[in-house]
C-alpha cells in the first residue's frame, strides 16, 4: 500500500486522461466533456471534479490557493489544500495575486485574475437543463441542437410567478454564443467576471463526470430577456464592517444583538485591504 507513491495522488495515466478532457473543453467553450472521473479520498459532491483538475494540472512550481465559499480557512478548502500539498509538496498561498492555480467552490475571487492564472471551479450540477429535463440522453440532444427553449422558459416562469428572472446562484450563461453552461453555483454577482476574463476557467464535476471550460477572452452572457435584464445581487448601500469595501459580495452576519452586519465574503481580499496592500475591490 503506497498511497503516497504518485506525485499529485493520481497515476500518470489518469492525469493524462483528465488533461485531455480539459483540452477538449477549452477547444469547445461551454461544452460539457465527459471524463472518467476517479473516486477520490474526499466525497463525491465535495469537490472531486475540481480536485481532479487541480491534481492533473499542478506542477512543482505552481502556487496553489483553495477557497470555499470565499474563504481560504473553510473546512473544505483546508482539507483540499492539505491533500494537494501532502501529495505534491507545492507552495500554497491565500493571496489571490500570488497563486498560479486557484481552486474554488462557489466564488470567483474579487481580484481580477491574470492571464497566467487558472481558476478551477468545483461543480455539483453541471447540466444547466437538468431542472427542465431529468434525462441525460435528452439534455445531450438539446445541447447538440442548441435547443435552449427550456432554459428560457424557466426564466420566463420565474418572471410570471415571482416577477423576477434571476435564478439565484448558478444563473445559466451562454458561452461564445453557442453552449449554455452552468457557471457552477457561483452567485449571479460573479457571472460577469467570466466575460472576456484574462484567466482560463476550468469547471469540473466529479460525480457527474463532466469537465467544461471558459477560455480566456471568451464572451459569456447571462441568459436574460430584453425587458427583464440580468441583474446581480443587490449590494448597494452595504459595506464590509471590517474593511469598509463596497461593491463586493458580502456575507450577512447576524450579530449578538440580532442585527445584521456585513463582512467581505472574499476573506483574503478583506485582509489585504485592511493592511492596505490590495488594489481596490474588483466588483463589477
Amino acid at each position: 500500500m503506497s498511497v503516497d507513491a504518485n506525485f499529485a495522488f493520481l497515476d500518470e495515466g489518469s492525469k493524462r486522461e483528465i488533461r485531455r478532457a480539459a483540452l477538449k473543453a477549452v477547444a469547445i467553450p461551454g461544452y460539457q466533456v465527459p471524463f472518467a472521473s476517479r473516486e477520490m479520498p474526499i466525497a463525491r459532491g465535495w469537490g472531486t471534479g475540481g480536485l481532479q483538475l487541480t491534481l492533473a494540472l499542478i506542477g512543482r512550481d505552481d502556487v496553489l490557493k483553495v477557497i470555499d465559499q470565499g474563504s481560504d480557512e473553510s473546512v473544505n478548502a483546508v482539507n483540499i489544500k492539505a491533500l494537494v500539498q501532502a501529495t505534491t509538496g507545492v507552495a500554497t498561498c491565500e493571496d489571490t495575486g500570488e497563486a498560479t492555480l486557484v481552486q474554488s467552490r462557489h466564488r470567483i475571487p474579487e481580484r481580477p485574475l491574470r492571464r497566467n492564472q487558472i481558476l478551477v471551479l468545483q461543480v455539483p450540477i453541471p447540466e444547466p437543463l437538468r431542472r427542465v429535463e431529468p434525462r441525460e440522453s435528452v439534455t445531450k440532444r438539446l445541447h447538440a441542437e442548441a435547443d435552449y427553449a427550456g432554459a428560457y422558459l424557466q426564466l420566463f416562469e420565474r418572471i410570471v410567478r415571482h416577477g423576477d428572472a434571476s435564478a439565484g446562484a448558478d444563473h445559466p450563461v451562454r458561452v461564445d454564443g453557442r453552449y449554455v453552461m452552468a457557471p457552477s453555483p457561483v452567485p449571479r454577482f460573479d457571472n460577469p467576471k467570466l466575460h472576456r476574463a484574462e484567466a482560463l476557467v476550468l469547471l469540473g464535476a466529479g460525480r457527474e463526470k463532466k469537465i467544461y471550460a471558459v477560455p480566456p477572452h471568451t464572451d459569456v452572457a447571462s441568459l436574460a430577456f430584453d425587458d427583464h435584464p440580468f441583474r446581480v445581487e443587490d449590494v448597494a448601500g452595504r459595506a464590509c464592517a471590517a474593511c469598509g469595501a463596497t461593491g463586493v459580495f458580502l456575507d450577512e452576519v447576524e450579530g449578538d444583538d440580532g442585527t445584521a452586519t456585513f463582512l467581505c465574503n472574499d476573506t483574503a481580499e478583506c485582509r489585504a485591504r485592511r493592511v492596505g496592500a490590495a488594489p481596490s475591490g474588483g466588483g463589477p
Binding site: S2, S14, G45, N79, S137, G163, A169, D227, D234
Partner: protein
Amino acid sequence: MGYVAVKGGRDAIVASQARLTYERLAEGRVLDVADVRAGLRGAIDQVMSEASLYDEDVAALALKQAEGSPEEAVFLLRAFRSTLPRLHHTRTADTRPMHVERRISATFKDVPGGQLLGASYDYVHRLLDPDLRFETDADARAWLARWRAEAEAAASAVGTPEGGDAEAGEGPDGASDALPKVLDYLRTEGLMEARADDDRAPGDVTKAALSFPAGRSRRLQVLTRGQTGVVTALGYASLRGFGPMLHPTVGELRVGRQPLSVPDPDAVADQIDDPEEDHYLGTVRLTEVETVVPVAVSAAGPQDAERTALGFDLGYGACFGRNETKAIAMSLLDQTLEHPDPRAPTHDEEFVLLHVDAVEASGFISHLKLPHYVTFQSELDAVRRTRAAALGGAGDADDAGVAGDAPDAPTDGEGTP
C-alpha cells in the same frame, strides 16, 4: 456570529480528527486486522464488491479504519484504487471451470452435478448464540481439528473420488470443479434463447463516463459495483410489481473460486490471441446468479400472428465474494433493464444506474453538511425581493402589477379545516 464559526478551520479540523481517533480507541482495545479478515467475512465481501477491488487484506484494513462502516470502508477502498495504475484486463472468464463451493438451483430439483449447499445462512436459525461471547482461539483450533478428522474418516470410508464423474470431481474441501450450467439444459430444450457469446471488449465504467443507452457490459459493471442495499431494494421493488414483471426463478446460484488470467502482454502487442500464453493470476471468490424470467415471446407461428407464447428470459448477476442477495437482485435488474419501460423506474436505465453507487450517493448527500452561505445568501436576496414585491410597494417598475406567489408556498388543501 454563527456563520463565521466555520472559519478558523484548521484548528477545528485537527481537534475533530483527534476526537475521531479518541472514539475509535476509547475502550483501550484495538482490532487486529487479521481478526477483521478472519471474522468479518461478510463485511469484507460486501465492501470488495462495492469497491470493485479484490483484496481481502486491504478490505480488512479499510473496515478497521472505518470502524466497521461499510460506507466509509468502500470510500477508502475506492480512493485507494485511484492510486493504482490499470495495466491489464483479464481474459473473459467462462465460469464453467469455477471451483464451486456452493451451488443451488430453484428451477430443478435435480440438476446435473447436483445441488451443493456449501456455506450459507439460509439453513440456520437466526438465533443469537450467547456462547459466542466466550469463544476463544483455542476453541476454534479444537473445532477445526475435529472437523478435519471427520472429513478424513469420511473420505477413507468412501474411497478416493477417482472413479467418480470425471468432469465434476469433488475436491477434499467438498467443492466441485467444472459443473455444467443449469441453464444449458433449458437452452438445449429450446425453452430459452441460446445466444452467442459476446466477447467484444467490454466498456469500462471506471475509465469512461456513462452515456445512455449504456449497453449491457456497462450496466452489469455499475450494478455489481452498486451499494448492496440499493441494488437489493431496487431488485425487491421490481419483484414486488413496480414494473410489469412476472415471478422470476433462480436457475442457478453458485459461489466459488473463479480462476482468472491475463493475456501475455507481448502476445497482445503482436496481436496473437493464444490462451496458452496467458498468465494465471489466481482465483477470486465470486457469487454468480442466472435467473429465469418468464416472458411473452413473439407469435407462436406464422399461421397465427395474434398468439404469443411464453418463454424464458435470462437475468444475470455476479459480484465479488459471497454476496447472494445482491447478486440475485442484480440479476433481476439486468433483466428489467434489458426491457426498458418508462412507466417503471426499475426498468429505467438512467434511474437505476445513476443511483446505485454508494460512493456517489453518500458523497452528495453528505455534502449538505458543508456550509452553503454564499448560495443561500443569493437565495435570500431573491426571496426577499419577490416577497417585497408580492406584499406591495417595494417592487421596482419591472415587478409592478405582477402578483407573485411566495415561491413554493403551500396551498391550503381542500380538506384543510
